[in-house]
Structures are given as structure tokens and as C-alpha cells.
């Protein structure tokens, strides 16, 4: 467990900014408690400082997880967001997509979101923008990247993909072994 290096921080924040933009500052400067990002076995954890301090007692091999895992660095040095961070990024998300009940299960099985399943979209979402996917009952289901801007999707046919799948909460079941 160690703080992120300069390079790592940059890669990580760039990725994070795709979803929550400048709201990253809300993650770092919190009113209640000091929180920090820590790297442990290639994974980035977001955890309060008090918990982090206590967790230093745990040996490196025995420490499995602390706080919330945001994602991991791949071997090529890129950062990959995990669905586990959904709680936080849903809270600060700038662009959202709501999908209809009949589109929930296909998305939770790891499919892209097609236009027919879209219920609502945040206005002015640009192309290739990270978005959070919600069900119509406002349960965050995952996140993805838009294939077209909001205005462009209007002209598309119903079967066309609007949001590329990045992560969904179905991964808790599907990828339990590899996710953590």
C-alpha cells in the first residue's frame, strides 16, 4: 500500500475526469474526513485516512482490500475503472443515461446499450463521453462511453448502439474471481 506516483495520479485522474469532470476535487477535499487514494497490488483504493492508518498494521500479503476499489492499473500502465467505484462516480456524474426496464437485464449481462432501450439522456452529452447508466428507478447500473452525442442519437435507428459498455453491476457475479 502506497500513495500514487505522479504518473499514476495523472493517468488515474484523466480517466476519472471522463466521468465526473472537475468533481474530482469533491473526492479529495471532503468536508467530513480526509480521504486519500492508495495503491495496493496495482489497484487504487479510495479510503479515509483514519481507516488507512489502521490498515497499515496489516501485512502486505494479508491485506486484501481497504475502503473502495476504484480500478486497477493494467500491465501497460493504463488505468481501468472497476464497477466498484460506481457509488462515488454516480454521486458526482455529469452525464447520465437512464435505460428502460426491458434494457436493464441486457445491460447487466454485459451488452452495449442500444437506442431502443434508452429512456432518458442528459442533454448536450458529447461523443465519447463517460456516462453513468441508471435504471428508470434511479438505481445506478454501471457506466459506459457514448457512441454518439445526444443530438446525433435522435437520428439513429433503434438497434444502433448508443452507449458502449464499460462496467456494470452484473460483474459482481460474473467476474467475482478476477475483479478483486
Amino acid at each position: 500500500m502506497r500513495p500514487l506516483t505522479e504518473v499514476e495520479t495523472k493517468t488515474f485522474f484523466e480517466k476519472l475526469a471522463k466521468y465526473i469532470g472537475r468533481n474530482i476535487t469533491h473526492l479529495i477535499d471532503r468536508g467530513d474526513e480526509t480521504y486519500c487514494f492508495r495503491l495496493h497490488r496495482d489497484r487504487v483504493y479510495y479510503v479515509s485516512e483514519s481507516v488507512m492508518r489502521k490498515a497499515t498494521s496489516i501485512g502486505r500479503d494479508q491485506l486484501i482490500s481497504l475502503g473502495i476499489c476504484f480500478g486497477k492499473f493494467t500491465k501497460t500502465g493504463k488505468f481501468r475503472m472497476h464497477v466498484t467505484c460506481l457509488d462515488y462516480i454516480a454521486q458526482y456524474a455529469k452525464h447520465k443515461v437512464w435505460i428502460k426496464p426491458n434494457g436493464e437485464m441486457p445491460f447487466l449481462y454485459g451488452n452495449h446499450v442500444v437506442k431502443a432501450h434508452i429512456g432518458r439522456v442528459t442533454e448536450d452529452t458529447p461523443e465519447h463521453q463517460g456516462v453513468i447508466i441508471y435504471s428508470m428507478t434511479d438505481i445506478p447500473l454501471g457506466f459506459g462511453v457514448t457512441a454518439r452525442s445526444t443530438s446525433d442519437t435522435r437520428k439513429m435507428e433503434p438497434t444502433a448502439i448508443v452507449v458502449f459498455h464499460q462496467a456494470d453491476i452484473g460483474e459482481y457475479l460474473r467476474q467475482e474471481d478476477t475483479l478483486f
Binding site: V47, S48, S50, V51, R53, K54, A55, T56, S57, I58, G59, D61, Q62, L63, I64, S65, L66, G67, I68, C69, T84, D87, E104, M105, L108, S135, T137, I139, P140, L141, I169, G170, Y172, L173, E176, D177, L179, F180
Partner: protein
Amino acid sequence: MAGRPATKKGAAKSSPAVSSQKNNKRKVSASTEPLSKKAKVGAKIGNGKLNKVVPKSAEEDSEEDDESWAYGAVSDSDSDIEERDDEFVSAEEGSDIEVGALDDDFLGDEFAESDDEGKAPGTAMFGSDDDEGEDEGEEDEEDIFASNSEDSDDDDDMETKSRKLDAAAKLEAEEAEAELQTNIMLESDKYVLPEDNHEILQSTDLQVVQARIQEIVRVLNNFREMREGDRSRNDYIAQLLKDLCLYYGYNEYLMEKLFYIFPVSEAIEFFEANEVPRPVTIRTNTLKTRRRELAQALINRGVNLDPIGKWSKVGLQVFDSPVPIGATPEYLAGHYMLQAASSFLPVMALAPQEHERVLDMASAPGGKSTYIAALLKNTGMVFANDANKDRTKSLVANIHRLGVKNAVVCNYDGREFPGVIGGFDRVLLDAPCSGTGVISKDASVKTNKSEQDFQMLSQLQKELVLSAIDSVDAGSKTGGYIVYSTCSVTVDENEDVVNYALRKRPNVKLVSTGLDFGKEGFTRYREKVFHPSVSLTRRYYPHMHNMDGFYVAKFKKISNKIPKKMDDNVDLDEEEEFAPSANKAGKRTRGGKKTEEELEKVSFNADEDEELIRASQAKLLHTQKGIKLRPKKSEGTK
């Protein structure tokens, strides 16, 4: 007839019991009936007294007698049940007529009869034999049916009179009863226990086995009266255990272990309950939603559910669901956790308060840990430990899914605490156990647990509970509690472990679990006697509470100081659990062999132990980082 209302009342009172045992009575062979009648008549004549009114007690007793020979008759001729049934019908009809006729007779002189003690023997005989009726099993039944309809005619005056007479006739009746009993004993046949190597034993026909189980249970429930000759209780129990093993598929060791926890008929209920799955229950994750909202969302998906009971505000019981309950979007979003009702209990007993630091020593797959976090409302911190690295994956997944943000997951052997980190406000130890409470979930327990497994488990549990106790900071303002729980019902994994902890750590005491239901823990079990406060612990059984078999004990740590115990007797007692014949010299080597760190740490009774202890304490303190109570502890132990 003054006696009549009273006796009727008695009959009415006992009627539920009688009707419940009707089946047994039906089997009474007609051939034995006249004999018993004769016997009773003989008894009364021999008594030389006029039993106009047979008191209730006598009636009831004689009823029992009847039943006892009823069983005898059944076992006597197993083959021709149908035949006997027929016979019985005819007997019934016969007695019906008889009773009716006699009733008419009585209408004439019932008052005279009741008031006059010195009546002619003939009439009195009739009166006692038929009007009061309950002397005999068959007519008893008839009389009840008749009297139930007539009850409304009862006169209060007559009742009081009859009560007086009841008292007056009590003595006579007792004598009569004594004779009755001896007479009946002569006539009755008991359930014949099959001999060893008898062909019945070889048969694997489950119906035969079940019938035999029922018979033996009945005999055991009223052993004095129904035993066969001089067969001992052990004979019956040995046969019963064999049959139960065969019928329910347990291995003999486990069967014996479980059997003695319960009274006989309850044990059967327990085994029966283990064959039935428990209801599916879910726990609302209060970090993300509320129970009402969750219930609504699930009902919209067609799930049929209900609150789990008054004792839990977050539990829901699922009756049936058209969708897999473990894969709904709500589940994936972490709005609920699939969790057995029983595993709510230890967390409710632990009752963590906000801003506390809590350790869950054996936490995978995280049902209880996430419940703790939910009660903490994501304040403070939860250390979720599990010794099995593979299982930590599901633990981490559940912690993230349920949105627990203050958890640290680690992979230590629980016994390494508090060496890793100590000073917790509360510790939950849901110890690894044999799983005898969850046989309905995992039936493999029935066969794959041997004596050795149980020994290893209780040894491990004892070590873990001491670690758990040592990991708690008694000085905590809000906490200082330890909850020990298992999903097992055996005594050596539960009360025995708790008792051990109380002896080894005099600085803890048992406190009420705060759970308002469940059975009290045993304070004594077979040859073992436990500390009286063990009754504060709680047991849960599948047949009683419709949840998995479970055990919860809650300790409060009073001080961080482990008082030295110089009492040799105590130490010897403790040692006996592991090695009955171990002397002091052998003890140290045994302890070393087993690497009982905890034992070594505490069981100092000789001077040379002192050095070892100091050394290990020093080592321990070295490994403890960031623990504030270090000076206190070292003071306490040195």
C-alpha cells in the same frame, strides 16, 4: 348421579389427550378388553368398598394404564392390524349400546345413589363401572363423546357435591388403583425390542424403521410403564440410535452427539426439521435503501415476501419468486443481501455503535460484516478477516456491492489477533464450526464429521475465542464486547468453549445477548457443569424457531488485565479437556506440540513458565503496531 358431572368434567378435560391418542387405542385388540374389565371388576370387589365415584386422578391413571397395555397389544401381534381394527369396531359398537342402556338405568336412581354411601354392592358396581366409565379405555372414549354433548345439562350443585365425594373416595380409589395397576401389569405386553441380529434389523425398509422409531420414542416417553420386562433404557436408546442413523442417514458418532442434546421426541423433531429447507431470507442493506422501498421494488418483480418477524427491522422472508432472487438488479445494486435469518442474530447481539472499530474474525462471505457496517452507518471501521484467501473474494465483492466504505479486508488466521492489530471496541467471532445447525443446507455434515473433526474444531474455537477476547479494548467508552457464535448446536462447540473462555479469561463476563427469543444455553450437560452465567447465552433450533441451528454468546470485557491464576486445580481441570490423563510434566510438551500460543501465554503456574511468558509477551508487543494500550498491557502481564 352426583358424581356424574364431575366425572364428565374430568372426561372433558382429558378428552384432547384421549383423542390424540385415539389412534393408539384403536389398535387395542378386542381380546384383551374383557380381561381388563374383569380385572377391574375383580379389583373393586377385592377392595370390598363401594366405589360409586371414582376420582379424577384414579380415572386418569387408569386411562394411562389402558394405553400402556394398548401398546403392548400392538407390538404383540404386528401382523394383523386390520383384523384388530375390525374387532375394535365391533367392540366399540357393543360398548356404545351398553352405555346407552346403562345411562337409561341411571336416570332412575342417580340421586339416591350419589347421596347414599351404603348402597347395595350391585348397584354401586354398575355405577362405578359404567357411569363413571373412565375406568376402561374403550368405554372411556364412548363416554367422552356422549358426555361432551350432555355437558350443558350439568348442575353446579351436583358438581360441588360430587367434588366432596371425590375427596372422600380418593383413598379407596387409590387402593383400587394400586390393584388395578398390578392386575394390568400382569396382562399387558410391552413393545418388544427386537433382538440383535434379528431379521428386522437387517431390513432397510424405511417404513418399518420409522414405525419402530415411533414405537421406541413412545416407550421412552413413558418408560416406567411401557418398558418391556427388564430391558434397560440403554437398550432402547441403542436401537433407536441405530434406526435414526439408518432413517436419516447420519453417521453414528454425530447421531449420538446430537441425540443427547434434546429430549427424545424433540430430537426426532430436530432431525425431521433438518430434512426441510429453511425459508429464504434477505437482509435490507440500510446503507442503500429501506425495507419498505426494497419490498416494493421486489413485489413489482413478482416476488412474494413478508417481513421476517418482529425481531428484525431489516429482514424479509421470500416465499417464492419468478426471478432468481440472487440476480435481480436490486441485488446487484446492493440493496439487499441473501442471508440466513440466524446470521442476523450475532450482529444484533453485538449491537455495534457508530464510530466504533469492529473486528469480524471469520467473516466470509460478508453477510455479518456488511450488517455491522450498515449498523455503523459507514462510520468507524470494520476489519473483516477471513483465514481462507479464496473466500475473501466473495467477501470483498459483497463489501463493495453493498457500498461499505469503511472496511478493511485481511487474510489472517484469526488466532494471530491481537498480534496483528488489537484494541477493538467490539469483536464478532462467528467461529468455524461443524455446521450441525445447517444440516438442511449442507447435508454432507451428516456423514463427514468424525470425532477428530469435532476435537479439532473445538480446539480451534477455544483458541479463537481467546484471541477475540484479547483483541478487545476493555477501556472502550461504548464497547468492550465480544460476541461468539456458531452455526452448530453441539455443546462442545458452544457452551464448552464459552465456559473455557470464562475460565481462561477471568477478565470477561457473560452478558445478556439482548435477543428476546431463543433457548437458554445449558448450564449443565451430561457430565459437564458450566458456569451458571452460561444461561445468558442463546440457542436456536431449526424445529423451534424455523431458522438454522445457532448459538450466540456475548461477553463483556471488564479489564485488559488477565488475572493470574495460581490455582493448580483449575489448570488441571482445563488440561483434562485435552488429555484426561495428562500430568503436569506432560502438559507442557503437549501444549508446545499443539502450538497453543494462547495456552502458553496464560497457563503459567510454575516459576519457569514466567520467563517464557515474558519472552512471548515481548515478542507480541513488538509485533503490535499502533496500539495505544501497550503500556497498560505490559503492566498487567508483568
